[in-house]
């Protein structure tokens, strides 16, 4: 595979960004042109990605020095390159990013129609794709970090896209800052790795980490620290506990953005990073931590999703929850399964977000599902595609989510039964809240406000076609690639990437015990039961307007986590900075000392000035006194 291909793949969205960003002024009013340029740019990348995929399937992997483009930061004892690493894992990510990305661009052409910031929107979106590609293409941690921060920036820009809305800009800022907290960990993780390996290149680090020499010199502790710090980065980026708080708020952005960034691609960067660093996590045995954080987040977020009434927020918490699953997968050593779930999730969650966007489009931006109901008739395509997505996530047999989730749960059992149990409960909750959403929104009596009701309609083709296209892989990709569990086509394709990690980890994780079939059956039953409960409870009835019990209230308010963070971190820091540091320490003490010195000198001067009487004879007297004393000293003493 040639480096040039990857360069084209990478640069294409950047070019799109530059055209829309720099010359947007001239494109203004011409939606077709700017939308077309943005979409085309991603299409080019998608085609390149397919070529790259074919190449990797043929065994052509781009790594090591061959992938180096140029020396970025270099000096005595350190060299960091801009370079590419393209293997099976990368191409999977590339296909997801550019494929789903392309569809979402197409969808956006319709969705953003008439928006004042149309050009700006496509510029940002292209920039995001570029940054995400940098993230997955990099052949070293530093370049991954570049993309890592880049997607964070685009996320910030796109969440706050409608910048006149205070809540949107607040959410954008929150996302960026919380992500920065994660990035802080990532940064320190990189430093730890560099201190140990003298390089940040994947091939160099993984090669050296495996070698016995390294183990002898550094033991495991360096790696434990490094992998945990990197994981902090992943927790921030992939919205895991305790840094998940930004993702639900991020729904302030345009819905296609939520689909692309906050469901399909950016938030999965953490999973990609851990899959990429599989060797390190295996050597450090820190996968357990990852898995536990993942499963607890999955459960926690699912409980919150149960009580929300805002469609996008339910989907957001569901994303947090599903990301937790992925972390369980990569945490328990089932890297391929984690990545597989990443891919299926990108399809079905992207699909559901876009469908939710379609609903919003029809409902004049209404998001509260209590004000919907019975939309099935008016929006059949949206309904069916949404349903497919929901079935997939709920683990309905033979749809994509069923396969990927089941693989993860199966592997989790081998690692720790408790993880499996919690994961299974979460699967039940997932099915329940998803179908609560479906039933309340699309079935039952219409509760749509009369003013809106007449306008409710199916979205234009430019929007529903991407839905249909996404529905297809959501439904069947599991069957195609996931059949056969750990022996499936997907596992086969990514085998080479995780081979080294598997070899190291064989001792750590017991090979998934027994046949997968019982697990599949249990999962399927749990999912179906969840759907059934939802049907019983919500297919006919309207959800309660107000939370009933105290527990319900606690959960509905998201456990007051935002309020706690605000009270514990945000406000104290603000107040301490303002009152203590600025007013007291800076102005009062430090500047007070500086000005105090000046004042003291002025007082001394003021006192001494009285000696200056202006009477010449007083001066002469003092002069003569001085002369007398001086002479006396000179003559009689010295």
């Amino acid at each position: 595979m040639s480096r040039e291909l990857i360069v084209v793949l990478l640069i294409s969205p950047l070019v799109g960004f530059l055209i829309n960003g720099l010359f947007g002024k001239f494109l203004k009013g011409n939606e077709k042109l700017s939308g077309g340029i943005g979409t085309l740019a991603v299409l080019v990348s998608f085609i390149c990605a397919i070529v790259a995929f074919a190449g990797v399937q043929g065994g052509a992997v781009l790594e090591g020095d061959a992938g180096v483009l140029y020396e970025w930061i270099a000096g005595e004892g350190f060299t960091f390159n801009i370079g590419f690493h393209v293997d099976a894992l990368t191409t999977v990510m590339l296909l997801v990013i550019t494929g789903v990305g392309f569809l979402i661009h197409v969808y956006s052409i319709g969705y953003m129609h008439g928006d004042a910031g149309y050009t700006r929107y496509f510029a940002y979106l292209n920039l995001f794709v570029f940054a995400m590609l940098v993230l997955v293409l990099g052949n070293n941690y530093l370049m991954m970090f570049v993309g890592w921060e880049g997607v964070g920036l685009c996320s910030y820009l796109l969440i706050g896209f409608w910048y006149e809305r205070q809540s949107a800009t607040d959410a954008g800022k929150k996302a960026f800052i919380v992500n920065r907290i994660g990035d802080f960990g990532f940064l320190l993780g990189m430093f730890t790795l560099f201190a140990a390996f003298g390089s940040l290149d994947f091939t160099a680090i993984f090669g050296a980490a495996e070698a016995d020499t390294f183990q002898k010199v550094f033991g495991g502790s360096t790696l434990v620290i490094a992998t945990l710090l990197l994981f902090v980065g992943a927790v921030g980026k992939s919205a895991q506990m305790p840094l998940y708080v930004w993702l639900p708020d991020a729904m302030e952005g345009p819905t296609p953005v939520s689909a692309l960034i906050h469901a399909a691609t950016m938030v999965t960067a953490g999973v990609y990073m851990i899959a990429r660093s599989a060797v390190l996590y295996e050597l450090a045995h820190t996968g357990q931590v990852v898995a536990w954080v993942g499963v607890l987040t999955a459960f926690f977020a699912a409980t919150i999703a149960l009580t929300q009434n805002d469609i996008k927020r339910i989907l957001a918490y569901s994303t947090v929850s599903q990301l937790g699953y992925m972390f369980v997968g990569v945490g328990v050593g089932a890297y391929a399964s984690g990545v597989f779930h990443l891919m299926t999730h990108a399809f079905f969650k992207g699909l559901m977000f876009l469908a939710a966007g379609s609903v919003m489009h029809a409902m004049a931006n209404e998001l509260d599902m209590r004000k919907m109901g019975g939309l099935k008739a008016k929006m059949p395509i949206t309904h069916w595609t949404f349903l497919i997505g929901a079935l997939a996530i709920a683990g309905f047999p033979f749809l994509s989510g069923f396969w990927s989730k089941d693989e993860i749960l199966h592997s989790a059992w081998g690692s720790h039964p408790a993880i499996y149990v919690i994961g299974l409960i979460t699967a039940f909750l997932t099915a329940f809240y998803m179908f609560r959403l479906i039933f309340v929104t699309f079935y039952g009596q219409s509760r749509v406000a009369s003013a809106v009701a007449s306008h409710v309609h199916e979205s234009p083709p430019v929007m529903w076609v991407p839905l249909v296209i996404l529905a297809i892989p959501s439904a069947i990709i599991g069957l195609l690639l996931g059949w056969g569990g750990h022996g499936s086509a997907f596992h086969h394709f990514t085998e080479s990437v995780f081979k080294a990690a598997k070899e190291i980890g064989n001792g750590a994780h017991g090979e998934a015990a027994g046949s997968a079939v019982p697990f599949m059956i249990i999962s399927a039953i749990v999912g179906l039961v969840g759907i059934g409960f939802a049907w019983m409870r919500y297919s006919k009835r309207t959800p309660a307007a107000q939370p009933g019990t105290a527990l319900h209230k606690l959960v509905a308010n998201k456990y007051y986590i935002d309020e706690v963070y605000n009270a514990v971190f945000v406000q104290p820091i603000k107040n301490v900075s303002h009152y203590l540091l600025w007013r007291v320490v800076d102005t009062g003490i430090i500047d007070g000392i500086v000005n105090g010195v000046a004042v003291a000198i002025r007082i001394i001067g003021g006192t001494l000035r009285r000696l200056q009487t202006g009477v010449v004879q007083a001066y002469i007297v003092s002069m003569v006194v001085g002369i007398v004393i001086f002479l006396a000293y000179y003559l009689f003493i010295s």
Binding site: G150, Y163, R180, W582
Partner: protein, 516 residues
């Protein structure tokens, strides 16, 4: 000869403006601009003629000056000063253009001050004679004093007197240090022979402190920073740009030129203290910046934070750290300079710097908002822009090679988070939201302002994407500094050698692979 031309050409401009009195404002501006541009163009000759393969002083000149004092006119640049010289010659025309319409009184005096300031600053970066250095160091105070004191804001007198006296207090100490060195240097002020004697000076600790305090005030390192917000707030836009862009760098430049290579042992002794102050400065500056209601003050405190990073980098006494520190000097000059330019531009329109007066500016001034965003991001240290490269190298250097606890690095790295907090919060309050009537009517940037900002942005992106031309030219010079510092401290800091192990380990792996 080239270097002397670069240094004194602006002074020639001063003379020209002084002699041609009463020629009208546009002619004065034209002359100033022409001289500044010419200086920049000539200084590019320094870049092209620079030999990156050596750490020796280049473009050296040496003439007898005041022989009775043992001082000579010795100048020369190495890879460290090269960039600061270029930064100075680059920012001056930018500043002149930025001040094109904003000076209402005493235009020729303003331009003369600016050009005289340029000569002073260039001299500081080029002098290789302690006395000459000191003369330039002090002479640059005078035009700055006028810039703030005449063309400043309401409390300009307070600010300018504070600035000058504070700096002078430090310089007085440095003068004592210089004289004491003079007597230990065979009654000569020449710098290069001093390098040979590095580490052998009596009372090196005191000498180090004498120099360091002078530089720390200039940097300004916490807790010597309180003159900075006052000076920035009161200074005219251009004054702020030069102040942040170049003047503060004179402190950090002094550290890397004098403190580290001349007194390596003392530097090692005081590293824990200085690094502590630097880290406090990073966090403290960020926290205080966060709550400032005044845009200029916010940027001023952010400078305290950023320069904390630079000092931290320099005192890693390690390649990546020092190189990052030097690069970050340039970066800070560019991004903070650009921030001040932007604040000045919006101040000219709105006549306010208070954050509460703004909001929704992105609506009325989209181009301005975009450029402001890029500059903000550069200041935050977003990868792909210049700030990241410097910060990353500094933190990497301190983590990897710094002879101090990793806790410092962890604390310093929180500055990365805090920077995002204060900058983005400010950005949100100024740019986002719905504009009120006044803000909605603000006109966007005009062509002149775009021309002012564009070159700065170009370098912001360039250094972020391809810093190699910058790094490769300073590498050798930095290596020499590092060698000097580490040589003296090697016995005490045994573990700096342990850091080499990983690379040996990798070599071993390769060998094993070969034998297999």
């Amino acid at each position: 000869m080239l270097l002397s031309i670069v240094i004194f050409l602006p002074l020639l401009g001063v003379v020209a403006i002084a002699l041609l009195r009463g020629i009208g404002a546009s002619a004065v501006k034209g002359i100033a601009m022409a001289v500044a541009l010419l200086t920049f163009l000539i200084s590019l000759g320094l870049y092209t003629g620079f030999d990156a393969t050596t750490a020796e002083m280049q473009f050296q000149e040496s003439h007898a000056w005041i022989s009775g004092l043992g001082t000579r006119y010795d100048i020369g640049i190495d890879g460290i000063s090269l960039w600061l010289v270029l930064l100075t010659t680059f920012l001056t025309p930018v500043c002149i253009l930025a001040a094109w319409n904003s000076v209402e009184k005493g235009l020729s005096g303003f331009m003369m001050s600016l050009l005289a300031l340029e000569t002073g600053m260039l001299g500081v970066f080029c002098a290789t004679d302690l006395f000459l250095f000191f003369v330039f160091w002090e002479s640059m105070l005078i035009p700055m004093y006028f810039l703030i004191g005449i063309w400043g804001g309401e409390r300009r007198i307070y600010a300018t007197v504070k600035f000058v006296l504070y700096t002078m207090a430090g310089s007085a100490l440095m003068l004592v240090g210089i004289l004491y060195l003079y007597f230990q240097n065979d009654n000569s002020f020449a710098l290069l022979p001093l390098y040979e004697k590095a580490g052998t000076f009596t009372h090196a600790n005191l000498l180090f402190l004498a120099f360091f305090i002078a530089f720390a005030i200039k940097v300004p390192l916490f807790p010597f920073h309180t003159w900075l917000p006052d000076a920035h707030v009161e200074a005219p836009t251009v004054g702020s740009v030069i102040l942040a862009g170049v003047l503060l760098k004179m402190g950090t430049y002094g550290i890397v030129r004098f403190c580290l290579p001349l007194f390596p042992d003392a530097a090692a002794t005081y590293t824990p203290l200085i690094v502590t102050l630097a880290v406090i400065g990073i966090i403290y500056g960020a926290l205080v910046a966060m709550v400032q209601p005044d845009l200029k003050k916010l940027v001023a405190y952010s400078s305290v934070s950023h320069l904390g990073f630079v000092v931290l980098g320099l005192f890693t006494r390690h390649h990546a750290g020092i190189q990052g520190g030097v690069l970050q000097m340039i970066n800070h000059g560019l991004s903070t300079g650009a921030l001040f330019l932007l604040v000045g531009m919006i101040y000219e329109r709105r006549h306010s710097r208070m954050i509460v007066d703004f909001g929704g500016v992105a609506k009325s001034m989209p181009i301005f908002a975009t450029i402001f965003m890029i500059t903000t991001l550069s200041s935050i240290g977003l990868p792909g822009l210049n700030g990241f490269v410097g910060e990353f190298m500094i933190l990497l250097g301190s983590f990897h090679g710094g002879a101090f606890s990793k806790v410092y690095v962890v604390l310093a790295a929180t500055g990365v988070i805090l920077a995002a907090v204060y900058m983005l919060w400010m950005f949100q309050r100024v740019m986002f939201g719905t504009p009120n009537k006044i803000n909605a009517a603000l006109p966007d940037l005009n062509t002149r302002e775009l021309v002012v900002l564009f070159p700065v942005l170009l370098f912001i992106v360039w250094i972020g994407v391809y810093p190699k031309p910058f790094l490769s030219r300073m590498e050798k010079s930095v290596n020499v500094v590092v060698t000097k510092v580490q040589q003296e401290t090697a016995p005490a800091m045994g573990h700096t050698k342990i850091k080499e192990v990983p690379r040996y380990a990798r070599v071993d792996i390769n060998k094993e692979a070969e034998t297999k």
